[in-house]
Symmetry: C2
Subunit: 137 residues, 2 copies
Amino acid sequence: MPTPSPRLTPQRKIILEVLRGTRSHPTADEVYDMVRERLPNVSLGTIYRNLDFLHSQGIIRKLDKLGSQMRFDACIDPHLHVCCIECGKVGDLPADAASVSLRRDAGMDTQCAFRITGHWLELYGICADCLTEHTSG
Amino acid sequence: MPTPSPRLTPQRKIILEVLRGTRSHPTADEVYDMVRERLPNVSLGTIYRNLDFLHSQGIIRKLDKLGSQMRFDACIDPHLHVCCIECGKVGDLPADAASVSLRRDAGMDTQCAFRITGHWLELYGICADCLTEHTSG
DNA sequence: ATATCTGCAAAGGATTTGCACGAGT
DNA sequence: ACTCGTGCAAATCCTTTGCAGATAT
């Protein structure tokens, strides 16, 4: 059987262009607004579906830990995000700047123009129960 | 004027007891179910309001980065959380085990019975724009 | 009395989904 | 033809809110 062939529709193309044209890590809503400037009849559902598709293909990053709304990032290189606790703005930080920033809590980080005040670290893994199911099943 | 005097209602008391009686970092919904066993007529709104109140008083922790629903933790000592990517279960990790776990990605961490497969680090701060507003205003 | 708190139900915001139509191969 | 994608609107999920009645000091 032939492999499924995703299509590069105008919507999909413009959504990706819009995302690649900004460094602001926009929400779906903000992407919607930007895309509508070029494609007035696009629907929000299409935005969500395409952002999801692009993410599933590894073409964009989905940032779901930066507030109440998801944000999206066309830059998939490993890097960290800094979130402003006042206005919610999201900035980038080169990966190798992390340890520097963590040690400098409450100091101004010259590399990202944010004064770092805190951080959040969370681990992912597989719990013992799920591990057992894997090995026994 | 007298300081406001929050009351220790039965609802509030039981919610806190229930939360202190588990290490499962329950969602509001799960707290609701547990509380209803002792207080069948409690409402979900009351659960949310009290969890919020307890959090605002620094009595419990609110974990909003562990999936789509908020989770709550009566243990406010600094410690990390490990989230199972299969079933969503959340475990604890002593703070000083963090560096160990990060170095052991994909290895089994004996301290928390999770096999750590990844992590997420995010920074918080104040952006240049908001800093300017503070210093100039 | 009065401020705090409750249960109920409705509202809210973000995201997902069902469906019939449209477009590419 | 057939599959994939779209617009629209409704549905869903989690959380918050308005309100009238209840409770404690």
